[in-house]
Subunit: 380 residues, 4 copies
């Protein structure tokens, strides 16, 4: 088994999710590579040490530039706020490191284009952590679409609804709340949540041609956690857009953090000529499937409990009926990345796929400003 | 169109449900008979008159014996408490009237046997109002079973859960609450609710061989609404039983009026070798169906919205997606009864079927007393 | 009880639904008026006679102008294709008749304005059959919103999904398929289905300020059933739009007849500061309600079975747990109309409300053509 | 952090589930103990080595007696077939080892009593792997009951339905199929699945007084995988029983491996005077809760997504809306066991609790033989 030395930057929520994946992957998947937790990097040395101890990282760095220079690190995992992705990734590529970068790839497509150029020039393995592609039910959806089970696609609709920022007392900025700070996050729900929806959608349904969007910031001012001052909120609290896909299908997308009753309700539905599919992150182990070719009297949405050995990834886990959870999507992503390294067929979404999503989110934000339909640039 | 003159006895909940069915049936079904609301009979003349006016009954009687003697009445519909069914039905049969009798057929099988003898001797059309056989989804279940789609049956389970008698302040007896008075009702949930479950079960899955039951009366004493005195409660508040069907399948049955959160949750599930079925009165327009012959990856319970023209009775109503409700089961029962009259193939459940259910409920109540498995007598 | 003489024009699907409502309403509601089925009008005399016989209409007309002139008719019920509403309604108003008109009120707002002017000038009672306002669960939603239980509203989303026109072999035009013929229908899903969504939405959430829409016709040509020729399809098969309400909330609306697996899936969801609501026509007897004020550990979407006596309209029907269906919404609408006549508080939606919806659908269709956000005109 | 050296016997499904728990627990819980994977024991040395390598066990044994003698092992984890539990556990207790034993504790209560005596004499920490007690939703149910939120309990019902042994071609016995071999398993669904239901039930609702049961073996003969011969099937394929709890509530329990459409459908429902609870293993991250004290109009079953920080165990995992899965119940059980070691409050279910469940399953199997109600012995 080959060792793959991981250097991770950031120890927040995603730092934990990725670390768990690295630690578990070889217990459940037969792979030629084994991730080795070499180093964790964070500005605060104490926090970094505590994290290293908890997860078994062999060392600690407080400057990501030093981490990148280390010879004993093969792969840089970027788990920091969005506004730092480009600089780190470009430097890591130049240093010849593989890169796994949290989503969205960058603050905007302009940055992302440079990141793509950097990894292509350096010829280093690269991937973006759009983890929902690896939920077994979502992969099953992909299989069914690719097999033509749905026929011509008429409609795609996706939502990502949350309700955690409704209180006006919630501050913006700082460690846990950088997603509310436009400087760190670049945008609000568009880059954070709709980026997931768009990545899945383009994977399942092909490229998006054009969009018409609206955004809203419901709470206009919030105290900034670092400065202590009440400041204008720069992010979008909610965003919805209409879209036309290249295959002729129509779509609606919506995301908000103001939908009472929904914690992380990412759903998508695809309506094809012959069949339809629905998925919901709140019950991520299920897929709803309707097949019009079923006999008329007993036609209905099939509620599929995706936990059998013939369903994606599931033979590696438990037995039928026993569900897996959120964290497993990251384990699958690492497993696929490592398998891709071994067999020379790189796993995706890579940086280029991440750029395609950034083109889409840029067009969405532009349309929200102009009030016009905007074309979505295609990644070459 | 032939006229069929109806004389109804009782104007309570069931009086309304039946009257509505008589009034609607010819608007939605093409039939050779038309029910004519000739007379309503009740001891209280004022109430009877008000009911007659509301529903369009042409006349009023206060003595059911007079109603039975009327030449202008073809059919007697018995909507009175259980303890009056036998006497009325036997007299009506002797008078040569067709009889539609509310369920359960009688207080016990002994009475019911006499009623069967009376209608057989008189050769009059007869039916028991086990209306749930006429929910479209239940009929669809019957079709699937009869076509062999389920294969060998292993399991049957039925429940009828309510929660309306939990308060100890609820009195027993009197007009609206005769179901709590053992003298009027004969038993509690067993005759009222389990009788429905048993009727459906034997229709779908054949006869029951033996049962082991338990009953309980949670509130031991209640004020009697007529006497004003606190009296011992004689009915069973809850009853559960195990059963073995003649076809070798195992069953569990349960009913209670002490299941918080359930208003009228009649459910049944049947597990066969190849397929399973589930139905629920709270969403009576749906049938859940699982077919193991579906391809493994996309196998799941199909949630069937029973509202299409190729599903039982539905071509007579609206268009796909538009649901019908509880009252329609009575309309269907009248439609089938009238069609049976016309074509000489009597609709069921007839009194003999009602007797079979009374044999079962008698065995259940006996088992609850003896603590033994008891055989269920078969109707000849 | 006062008699109200009904003259109905058209005997199709809606003719049945309305006739059923007139026949049932006095059995279940205590009212000061009773509808009398005086006459049905249709061009085909045989069909009209058959319908009259089935439903008990006392007479038949083949020319709606004659019907309108009859002194023994108090109310004209318009159940004909959309392109005939204006002419009939304006004439009926001039003749001093009350008018109940099927939705949408007219082919466009221009026509609808004239209809409003006509009924206002004639001071005749008028109503539009947006029946979904009368589903008990929808009325319950209205109550909760009006009581302030949701607080500030952030989001509204509505969909009306069907799948019955996917086959390219389906012809357009003629008796049953006039909804596919742009001349008779005016538009496709926008006027037929989104009009329902918009009517409910403005009732629940106030007026709409502006919209951005897209439409699509997936099957470009169909045989016309009357001419036998393959002709261009003029209607919209699908329409989706973004909207901003006057109260600051954002909305998405979508309708299509190309969503495999959905027969008549009209759903809406409203997200407020404190609570959210979801409703679904496929289970119209249920309301989903989430209240953030519930204790955190046991907070969840409440699945409310709207069948109790303290829920809208339900004390008039059966007992808790026993559901009603689609047709009951029409019974409720007639009941409310008759009650409004009696107490001088006219039931709504009246023609002015219908005009408001036509302003919205006009703006939607215009936006789909221009690719711009369009303002929605407000009814004065 | 103290090290706790684990010696595990068996490397099958449960060997994996436990090993995963030992590996993960310290990443997610702050504990004073850390499990160290010291040795895995299995008769087949190659398989044991492969397992050790996969999971990081430091050594391998092929004789469990040797494992028990090792000074560097603190805790014996028994993951072998049921017929070996007693001998191993008694020997391990005598050797002074802590013991975690897979369920059911023993083949029967007679064996289990000896195991209890052994651990009590040796004063060693002990626990039985009834893991479903540690699903967050189940713990939440326990909290609500203990807080009195349900009031007086009227009903308990539990089912554990599977469908994996319907094929008559499935052999019995051997590595993967020892659960079908009565010699290894002791019984069929009663010891395997109903034992889980009973353990949870007695934890939530107190002791069971008496039971009336039936069992069935649908496929009477199967080929034995080891001998190759067709042999009589000794296990129960299905078992259902009625029960009376000491608190006066009534119960139904059922388990089968012949319920088409159900992979591992463990459900329970509890109906109390004020509130009811429902849980389902197929969506183990959800709890259904009905509270009759909610305002009447908006009363409904609350569908609780148990993923918030104030719900049991969940602050240790991800963020609201992101679900955990089956394996996490084992992590929680290890966490609680280790916390119990540290603070001197032993986690449960301990062997005595396991004995209580064996008393119940013994009574169930006896009742199925005698056809009588049987008393359930109480653990002292």
């Amino acid at each position: 088994m080959k060792k793959l030395n991981i250097g991770i930057i950031g120890y927040g929520f995603m730092g934990r999710a990725h670390s768990n994946a690295y630690r578990k992957v070889n217990h459940f998947f037969d792979l030629k590579y084994q991730p080795i937790l070499k180093a964790v990097c964070a500005r605060n040395a104490d926090n970094a040490k505590a994290f290293a101890e908890k997860w078994g990282y062999a060392s600690v760095e407080t400057d990501w530039r030093k981490l990148i220079e280390r010879d004993d690190v093969d792969l840089i995992d970027i788990c920091t706020p969005n506004n730092t992705h480009a600089e780190i990734a470009i430097a890591a590529a130049r240093a010849g490191k593989m890169i796994l970068c949290e989503k969205p790839l960058a603050l905007n497509a302009e940055e992302a284009e440079k990141m793509v150029a950097a990894v292509e020039k350096a010829k280093v393995a690269n991937m973006v952590w759009y983890n929902y592609r690896r939920c077994p039910a979502v992969v099953l959806a992909k299989q069914l679409i690719d097999e033509g089970k749905l026929g011509r696609i008429f409609h795609y609709r996706a939502k990502f609804l949350q309700d955690w920022t409704i209180s006006p007392d919630l501050p913006q900025g700082g460690a846990a709340l950088w997603r509310l700070d436009v400087k760190a996050a670049g945008s609000g729900v568009t880059g954070d949540l709709l980026a997931h929806c768009i990545d899945t959608a383009m994977w399942l349904n092909g490229s998006i041609d054009s969009v018409s969007a609206m955004t809203e910031t419901f709470i206009k001012e919030r105290k900034h956690q670092l400065t202590g001052k009440v400041e204008k909120v720069g992010i979008d609290d909610a965003c919805a857009f209409l879209a036309r896909f290249s295959n002729g299908s129509l779509a609606t997308f919506e995301s908000t953090r103001y939908a009472r009753g929904h914690k992380a309700l990412y759903t998508f539905e695809i309506n094809g000529e012959h069949a339809s599919i629905f998925w919901d992150l709140h019950d991520l182990h299920r897929l709803q499937y309707f097949d019009h070719r079923d006999e008329g009297r007993v036609r209905g949405w099939r509620n599929i409990h995706v936990s059998d050995g013939d369903q994606p990834y599931m033979k590696n886990w438990w037995v039928p009926g026993l569900q897996i959870g959120y964290e497993h999507s990251f384990v699958h992503q690492v497993a696929d990345f490592l398998a891709g390294l071994a067999d020379g067929k790189p796993a995706r979404p890579d940086f280029k796929d991440g750029l395609a999503t950034d083109y889409a989110t840029d067009a969405v934000l532009k349309s929200a400003r102009t009030g016009q339909w905007e074309k979505v640039k295609k990644a070459k």
